[in-house]
Amino acid sequence: MNIVVCIKQVPDTTEIKIDPVKGTLIRDGVPSIMNPDDKGGLEVALQLKDKFGAHVTVITMGLPMAEAILREALAMGADRAILLTDRKLAGADTLATSNAIAGLLRTLDYDLVITGRQAIDGDTAQVGPQIAEHLGLPQVSYVAGVEYDGKNTLTIRKEDEDAYQILEVELPAVLTVLAPAFKPRYMTVSGIINAYDTHEIEIWGADKIDVDEKKLGLNGSPTRVKKSFTKPQKVAGEVYEVTPEEAVGLIVSKLKEKFII
């Protein structure tokens, strides 16, 4: 089985702080990591490889520095790594990003494509399903369990608000995976050596992928960020020192004003 795992390098958003004076994000010194849901997705692929034998390719789109997460993925046990990096891809929204990645996937052999549910920098959860649509593949999102019959069908546990569903999906397919369900393995020493000595990271430009160039980058992006801002600090409301009866009156009128009662 050929499995392609799509991964993304993201700033560790738990480490991001806000400049209290300028009201902007402080990104300096914030570590870049493999997006947690994507790492869960890689673990799914490696578990299938352990059990059934599979060739696992990891791909990412980003700046040249994103090579770091591909090395990490190789050290965990992936077999091949491709970095798609090109100025033509800059400014892509989710649709343009999914077009680029689908374009890359069209040039590869795959039975299963795995992405994380969402990346912690954007939290959109859109690129996985959009890739599936571009490639005409079925998708299952919010994946928390995967069983394979060894032939053509995956049995999936999909989490939802009520609890979960069991779904069957025919391969080839796209899964978007939840990190907490799949604890990623550590890199091994031999894996790390392999990642640097044996494996090459393949660096691809936009000319190598199979997609109409008009669909890429800023030009291929239907959405535009009009403005971004940090959340305004909350201003304290009124404080009253009144009798209990008056207090009740104040509370009730506030609840009515906010349509709560």
Partner: protein
């Protein structure tokens, strides 16, 4: 694409096991506000099986039209079945705006459709507005909530957005509202159906997770005892709320850990948070300051909780809470 061909605000109203999901009604409420500014109609898309009798409910909550696709293929949500049906509705009716709840369904369906329709989708919006140029402005959090971004989709139609549940306000139900109900019969390409639903499992919940509650009545040291929390529970019951607690009352063994709000407990953002007898240590504030409306009652007028509250009452919670409960019971009965 000619933008002027696209009109009206379409809302995907989710049902699960035939039950209309609240976020759908919230979106109808918001769509109504937006529709007034655009002078357009609000149209609900309602998909499922044996659901037709519920269309009037959607009218009463703000839909001017309901496009109902009622067939066995749409009984349970499956990506491809729903995508085909909605794609056909969009092709036929050409909406300018298309809204979904940011649920596991909306966040699965929205991106699939945006790619099929070749248009933009903005995820998890917390604010929707209309610009002077009559375009949709969609505001959403990013970077783990550290940053807000306003996003527009001016050159493509429809403008698509998923909206977080619990953020928008549904309208008061109005039984006299009139609307048009349209039967829609999608044609399915069943060769594309590659996913089968084997079973659905629902968790049995004896009480609600406090992170899901719309209203929380939270008590601290000032409440002081199991007896004190019983009066909070009465207040909570009148409003369909849940009771939560600060750390001190959990450490004292008065309340269980799963209702603790704060850094070492849970982070909540209900529509309304009552902080009763809670001084407001920074660790507590970190867990609740995102609540939409905060009402604090505390004896100490210098308590830090008043720095984040929208309404602060300096007073004795043991006197105020029973009075408030009584008054709210009356208000709600009269309604």
């Amino acid at each position: 694409m000619n933008k002027s061909d696209y009109k009206n605000i379409f809302v995907f109203v989710e049902q699960r096991d035939g039950e209309i999901q609240p976020v759908g009604l919230e979106l109808l409420g918001k769509a109504n506000e937006l529709a007034k500014e655009l002078n357009e109609k609000v149209v609900a898309m309602f998909l499922g099986h044996n659901i037709k009798n519920q269309c009037q409910t959607l009218v009463e909550y703000g839909a001017d039209q309901v496009i109902c696709a009622d067939c066995p293929e749409l009984k349970d949500y499956l990506t491809e079945q729903y995508s085909q049906a909605i794609y056909q509705i969009v092709q036929e009716y050409k909406p300018s705006i298309l809204l979904f709840g940011a649920t596991t369904i909306g966040r699965d369906l929205g991106p699939r459709l945006s790619a099929r329709l070749t248009t933009g989708l903005t995820a998890d919006c917390t604010k929707l507005e209309i610009s002077e140029e009559k375009e949709l402005m969609m505001t959403r959090p990013a970077f783990g909530g550290n940053l807000m971004a306003t996003i527009m989709c001016t050159e493509h139609r429809p403008q698509m957005s998923t909206v977080r549940p619990g953020v928008m306000q549904k309208m008061d139900r109005d039984a006299s509202r009139k609307g048009e109900i349209i039967d829609f019969h999608p044609t399915f390409d069943t060769s594309k159906f590659k996913v089968k639903l084997i079973k659905k499992v629902k968790a049995v919940k004896d009480k609600m997770d406090i992170t899901e509650a719309k209203v929380l009545v939270s008590g601290g040291r000032g409440v002081g005892s199991t007896e004190g929390f019983k009066t909070l529970k009465k207040l909570a019951d009148t409003m369909g709320a849940e009771v939560a607690s600060s750390r001190s009352m959990v450490d004292a063994g008065i309340m269980p850990h799963d209702v603790q709000v704060g850094q070492t407990g849970k982070t909540v953002r209900p529509n309304l948070y009552f902080a009763i007898g809670i001084s407001g240590a920074i660790q507590h504030l970190a867990g609740m300051e995102e609540s939409d409306l905060i009402i604090a009652i505390n004896k100490d007028k210098f308590a830090p909780i008043f720095g984040v509250s929208d309404l602060g009452i300096v007073g004795d919670c043991h006197k105020i809470v029973p009075l408030l409960t009584e008054r709210l019971q009356k208000e709600i009965q009269e309604k």
